[in-house]
């Protein structure tokens, strides 16, 4: 056993000395390889953490939302729709909501303006998300003015800033009273944005949605499951899109790595010939090349993964911010919760380390089984 380890150690010594002879080439290779793993791992970790987060926190979103569809678009819903919906068996509570968007021309940002349920605010009071507070530079006690539908300005005093750590869901919130909302947007009494229903038995949700569609043909029920599914698919889609965009770069790397690993240069062939001529067995040559592939790919995997973990969970995935931000001015300042799926890490390992290691062995095996004299010629 000790002999086995001693033998492997000599092989590793020899491999490393051989790698160090072409230091620049191999360090460059290691850097590019690590970068490829870094980008793939960052996308994977970030998407998984956000998907998990959305799945958990949006479990608390409303069970059923009823929108009214007018001419194929979301329209205001009359308050008297609450009555037939509330009478449905299984519906335990109903509530009409008022919410919408306000475009702040000065900031070029969209706010989500809402009337908070179960909370009374004064006509001139506003609770804002931390994103708005940060970008507008306002604090509690400051005033903010919205341009109303009739052109007049309505001022609000900031009375509270939503808990900053909830920016992922609340960065752009602008919470005002029902009276103020109707004054800003000119929405008449008795009209609402949508209805929210609570259901006693979660298994009845589908049935209730069906009944709503029959009772109110112009209504569109949105279930919490659909909200969760939307986010599941948004993140899988985005991860897929990024992988597709990256695939060009990854393929270029694969070709480069394959060429490097599989195509033997005349110098390498001569080296194998000399090794065989001085008494190395085919197995030793294969082991030596296995160590070469394993050392490079394992080092690239470990370096790339550790850097990706630090980037996503300590650097708030800063490199992805421009991509996610798009044209939005308001972007939540958040740090993804560190949820790591071991299965994904194993897949990344299998797809990045094994192919390179195997690619190094096959051509060497071909060269190593031929006659040293023919290889050296």
């Amino acid at each position: 056993m000790i002999d086995f380890f001693r033998r492997q150690r000599y092989l590793v010594d020899f491999t490393l000395s051989s790698l160090l002879r072409r230091k620049g080439k191999h360090l460059g290779m290691l850097l590019v390889y690590s970068l490829v793993v870094f980008v793939l791992a960052s996308v994977m970790l970030f998407s998984h953490a956000l998907q998990r987060e959305a799945g958990v926190i949006l479990q608390s979103s409303p069970e059923i939302i009823v929108q009214r569809v007018v001419a194929g678009r979301h329209g205001l819903i009359p308050g008297n729709y609450l009555e037939p919906v509330g009478r449905l068996r299984g519906v335990s509570a109903t509530q009409a909501r008022l919410w919408g968007y306000f475009y702040d021309a000065a900031l070029k940002a969209n706010y989500t303006v809402m009337v908070p349920p179960d909370r009374q605010l004064g006509h001139d009071e506003v609770v804002i998300g931390n994103g708005i507070a940060r970008i507008r530079g306002v604090d509690i006690g400051d005033y903010m003015t919205l341009r109303a539908h009739d052109g007049g300005g309505i001022s609000f005093r900031v009375t509270e800033i939503v808990w900053p750590e909830s920016e992922l869901v609340s960065a752009d919130l602008f919470l005002i009273s029902e009276h103020a909302f109707r004054s800003v947007f000119g929405i008449p009494e008795g009209q609402f944005t949508d209805l929210v229903l609570s259901v006693r038995n979660p298994r009845e949700v589908g049935k209730i949605a069906e009944k709503i569609s029959i009772k109110l043909p112009d209504a569109r029920p949105i279930l919490r499951d659909e909200v969760l599914r939307t986010y599941g698919s948004v993140f899988s889609w985005r991860q897929g899109i990024v992988f597709v965009l990256l695939s060009g770069a990854v393929l270029a790397f694969v070709i480069f790595a394959w060429d490097k690993a599989a195509g033997l240069s005349a110098e390498e062939k001569r080296e194998i010939g000399i090794l065989k001529a001085v008494g190395w067995e085919t197995g030793d040559v294969l082991r030596m090349k296995f160590w070469e592939g394993a050392i490079i790919s394992l080092a690239a995997f470990l370096l790339g993964y550790v850097a990706a973990y630090a980037h996503v969970f300590y650097g708030s995935a800063g490199l992805f911010e421009p991509v996610l931000k798009g044209w939005a001015v308001l972007y939540p300042d958040f740090r993804p919760s560190p949820f790591v799926d071991p299965l994904q890490v194993i897949s990344l390992f299998v797809f990045t380390v094994l192919p390179y290691t195997i690619a190094t062995i096959i051509p060497i095996w071909r060269a190593a089984i031929t006659d040293p004299d023919a290889v050296m010629r």
Binding site: L16, L20, A54, I57, L58, Q59, S60, S61, I65, Q67, V69, G72, R73, H74, R97, Y101, A109, N110, T112, P116, P117, G129, W163, E165, S166, E167, V169, S170, A171, D172, L173, L175, I222, E226, T230, Y231, S233, V234, W237, R238, I241, I295, A299, L302, L303, Y305, Y309, F313, L324, G326, W327, A328, V329, L330, Y331, P332, S337, P338, F339, V340
Partner: protein
């Protein structure tokens, strides 16, 4: 120092860092779960339905509440004007 010793030391360090990422994730999980529970409370208090990741347009701010064809308003697989529009799939209902 023999090259293999240096390599062994290098791999010992990066492997420890690799293992540390899992330990770190495990140690930070209770705090992350508590913080997520608080965020869930904000969601339930205000009846929120979406993440505030893309605030540029109504259908990217609230993809789950968007009109049936928005996100891809011209037709279901049209390219979007907004950069993030190209990263949001057609609504689940359309792909069923």
């Amino acid at each position: 120092m023999r090259p293999s010793t240096a390599a062994f030391l290098f791999f010992a360090i990066v492997s420890s860092l690799f293992a540390l990422t899992f330990i770190d994730a495990m140690l930070r999980q209770p705090a992350a779960v508590a913080s997520m529970a608080q965020r869930a409370r904000v969601v339930s208090d205000y009846g929120l339905t979406d993440l505030a990741l893309f605030t540029e347009a109504r259908y990217t701010r609230h993809p789950s509440q968007a009109d049936l064809h928005s996100a891809f308003q011209d037709h279901p697989v049209a390219f979007e004007h907004f950069p993030s529009g190209s990263m949001i799939p057609p609504p689940a209902g359309l792909r069923r």
